[in-house]
Symmetry: C2
Subunit: 554 residues, 2 copies
């Protein structure tokens, strides 16, 4: 038996959608050489992460083993696969490998963070092979909703891993390489130890539809429109942008891209040669002079983001452009769970303007970028691996995907973030549990998810805040305690001002408190807190957060 | 031309789903006698209303005209139609009218708030008529997802209003009265001035399915289950509870109701005679002793509510009961937009336990309680009103519903909260805009939505908080300023403690500030705020909320 082993360890993306980060290792136990596949972000929400800007995987385990790490591979340029690269590369400082378009996006992130861009290595598609430590890596083209997405082949003496990050089976993807069944069948023929495979759409029971199938319905919709047409989709879905723009062109409309992310994506896709034949576009200034029936806007903000172009337009004039009754707004996109409120707000605002909105309730104008249940089964059958480890998905998705594998008689295991699995045996074997978690980008700082900072924000939001200020001289109160409230009603049951009621009760307390209590910050604070909470419960029926500041004059 | 007029004024529920409250008036302009139909709540969320317990319609307009108000009609016992009755009745103090089951629920709300229950008048179904001011009112039975739902007929000398609150067309509703086409056709024959009509499901393009159609698939599912079966739905959907319980009984399972709301609804439905033939149930204590394959739990929490039984079970043992691998959990319910996160959290927790979850992605085990697009068209055709005013729905729904009316050649108008419409002309005419808004129940207090209290909570949650405490004696600082932070990272770019960095900068400021600044609370506060925000931007890249407390010693 060899003393070398092949290991797999997700640090993000397994047990959740987003924030992908997967470690592979090969070598003697505890001294494996490591490679990281993808380094993505996930997005905050008001419920659990108010005020946070971005969420990154916690790479503590990997950072501690930085000397074992030989490289970072990025499979494609979606934010949940590359978005953390700029934020975290400085803690890893190893070469990055990607195909050209993805590398271009990675480079922008490096530039933003001042990292050396020569650390980004552009790798051509299979059959080109790049050696990263003990891993012979190949980037295998596959269809998805962004150009140049790759399935990774990682060959080691301990076996071959096929890492299928986000993908779909699309033989007419409009932009980029079509799904090549023969290619994947050939990879299967070569023998695959483990397939690590996208699970996000496992519950969808019909085979996925092709990007190319959208041209006809979208063209028909745009051709039938009377006023201005505005369409939104993910900025990175350049195939969709092309389909939309072509439909506009065919209907005799000038096409204008609104939103920096979209302009940047299209430019990068054109400059790297992955996007060809995109119609000429006009600027917002030019668009303002064109009759609305001859205009088509492609705009950012398909998820209802408050500062994106869609939301701006829903609030009125934006860059000189404005929607009017009879205009058409098309969501050529699916609303990601959690974003419903923002999207519905925009739809209702457009409804108030008399704009006709076509949303994703009809699936006519959008197709998913992920493999559905039947597509996954087809992919399994092409790769024919010894084992399948579902990745990228909530637990319920991983579990369902593992069921599909088991039904096909393939060894499988539900592996979530922090579970290290040995792949070099007959079946996957969990060998270790490591700490995996989240780090918050909060303004200019990275804070740990368990630091309590965000928990305190949530508490202030739910309970409101009372601050008490007391000056003590010679262990006696100097003047009355001073109370400030924030996020609480001014008056409660008694109709008296809440802060004053608290001040009165606190004055009573400090006047009566003995010198023993007055001399002891801990006891004094406890007493003040108790009285504040008691008054709050009586007056307003809530228990606020309380901050007590005791100033002792010498 | 008569000087009397018939008016309609939604104060809640139009331009939103939930919080229904509709005023009708008849009489001379400005002196109409009024009746209020429904008085519901809507539910808060962390995004826009953190810490709030419930949201009520702002009835200021109506409260100011309380002497014109003759009664409150409740159409059915859903919270978005009756939930605000206890909270707001004290400000209106007029008789309440409802059918028996609804009246029972209204009575519970009166008891909670100490209102006189003899103000609740139980009215039998049409043909019984009750005179409320100038309105001859009839409660017309209709099918919905709670027993004894009524469409209201309000007859006045100025015309007949048919107010169709939530309803569906269901000829096999399992519990309660089936939809009676002849009855509604007869009402249409009598002549209807205005139909005010539920819009929530207008975008659904197929006719609604009957509650009765669920018995077979649910029974089959339960019969095929190996372990314990747990099912959740809205507590008030007693028809669904009966279908679920019967399926359990048929499969040889004892049925246990978990969750107070559900137990209360079933008891009230049984005691008022609307629910018959419900299987005998057992308590949680008894259930713990029964083999899991002979057990079926019906539980609250279909919307992922953190404290309901579903969520409790997803976190582990609850009342001695616990789910295990091989058990089945059925969501016999739709997830209301905005509740996705909470529901998915529960599903994933069950997935980790090895429980098989059947959710609402298949529409096999749930039907909606609302009329779909084609059902609305059918209803319009039965009632044949002079005008249709869509109600209960977001703006996009009202607009779509108005389109259906217009296509059928019926006069219509999109009317949202605060728009007063005269119904006694040929077509609906907007005659006035009144202030309509929201009131928050926050602990024991009602606060206005625009008071700024909740806005401050959101700001603290997004930006964090810094408190500065400064003691001033004789217009000079006494000691150093004291800083407390909450919801912010301890350290920033410089790695020094954030509070200390602020204190240092503030000391510099107060030492250098002239007596003129030190003597002026406004200038001093402004300076302190500026420095705190500046340090925060430099150190952590955020602009926190700042509270400054200046204590002046005499």
């Amino acid at each position: 038996m060899s003393s070398e082993r092949l290991i797999y360890l997700p640090l993000g993306g397994s047990g959740e959608v987003g924030m992908n980060a997967y470690v592979y290792g090969y070598g003697p136990e505890g001294a494996e050489r490591l490679v990281l596949v993808d380094l993505g972000v996930t997005f905050p929400d008001m419920d659990s992460t108010p005020g946070v800007d971005l969420i990154l995987p916690d790479l503590t385990w990997l950072i501690e083993r930085r000397d074992q790490l030989d490289g970072i591979i990025i499979t494609h340029a979606h934010e949940d696969h590359v978005g953390a690269l700029g934020h975290l590369w400085g803690k890893l400082r190893v070469p990055v490998y990607a195909r050209q378009f993805t590398g271009r996006i990675a480079r922008l992130k490096f530039e933003e963070h001042g990292h050396p861009v020569d650390q980004i290595n552009i790798v051509a598609a299979r059959p080109e092979t790049v050696q990263i430590g003990p891993f012979k890596a190949q980037f295998v083209p596959i269809s998805h909703s962004i150009p140049e997405t790759s399935v990774m082949i990682l060959d080691t003496p301990g076996g071959r891993v096929v890492h299928a990050a986000d993908f779909k089976i699309d033989t007419d993807p409009v932009v980029g390489e079509a799904f090549d069944e023969d290619l994947y069948s050939a990879i299967g023929d070569e023998g695959v130890t483990a397939l690590i495979c996208d699970s996000t759409n496992v519950f969808v029971r019909h085979p996925g539809r092709s990007e190319g199938s959208l041209a006809e319905p979208i063209t028909e919709l745009v051709r039938g429109a009377k006023g201005m047409v505005v369409a939104t989709t993910f900025a990175s879905n350049v195939a969709r942008l092309k389909t939309l723009a072509m439909a506009g062109q065919e209907a005799g409309r000038s096409v204008c891209l609104l939103g920096r992310a979209m302009q940047r994506m299209v430019r990068n896709a054109q400059e790297t040669g992955v996007l060809k034949g995109f119609p000429a576009t006009i600027s917002a200034e030019e668009a303002a002079d064109i009759p609305r029936e001859n205009l088509m806007l492609l705009v950012t903000g398909s998820q209802g983001e408050r500062r994106a172009a869609s939301a701006q337009l829903s609030r009125g004039r934006y860059l000189g452009l404005e929607l009017k009754p009879g205009d058409l707004f098309l969501f050529s996109s699916k609303t990601i769970p959690g974003n419903e409120r923002g999207v519905l707000q925009i739809i209702n605002a457009f409804s108030e303007m008399g704009v006709d909105v076509v949303d994703d309730s009809t699936t006519k104008y959008h197709v998913s970028g992920h493999a559905n249940g039947p597509d996954l089964e087809r992919f399994h059958a092409l790769i024919r691996p010894d084992m399948i480890l579902p990745n990228h998905g909530e637990h319920r998705m991983l579990r369902q995907h593992a069921k599909l594998a088991a039904e096909a008689g393939i060894a499988t295991e539900v592996v979530t973030n922090g579970m290290m699995v040995e792949l070099s045996g007959e079946t996957p074997r969990v060998v270790e549990y490591v700490d995996a978690g989240r780090v918050y980008v909060d303004g200019a700082v990275q804070i740990g998810a368990l630091d309590g900072v965000v928990r305190n924000r949530i508490r202030m939001a739910l309970n409101g805040l009372v601050m008490v200020n007391l000056i003590v001289e010679d262990n006696a109160p100097l003047g009355d305690p001073w109370v400030e409230v924030m996020g609480l009603p001014d008056t409660g049951r008694s109709k008296a001002a809440l802060a004053e009621t608290m001040e009165d009760e606190l004055s009573d307390f400090t006047e009566r408190a003995g010198r023993k209590v007055m001399a002891d910050d801990g006891k004094l604070e406890d007493g003040i807190r108790r009285i504040v909470r008691q008054v709050a419960m009586e007056e307003i029926g809530k228990k606020p957060e309380v901050i007590v500041v005791i100033s002792r004059l010498a």
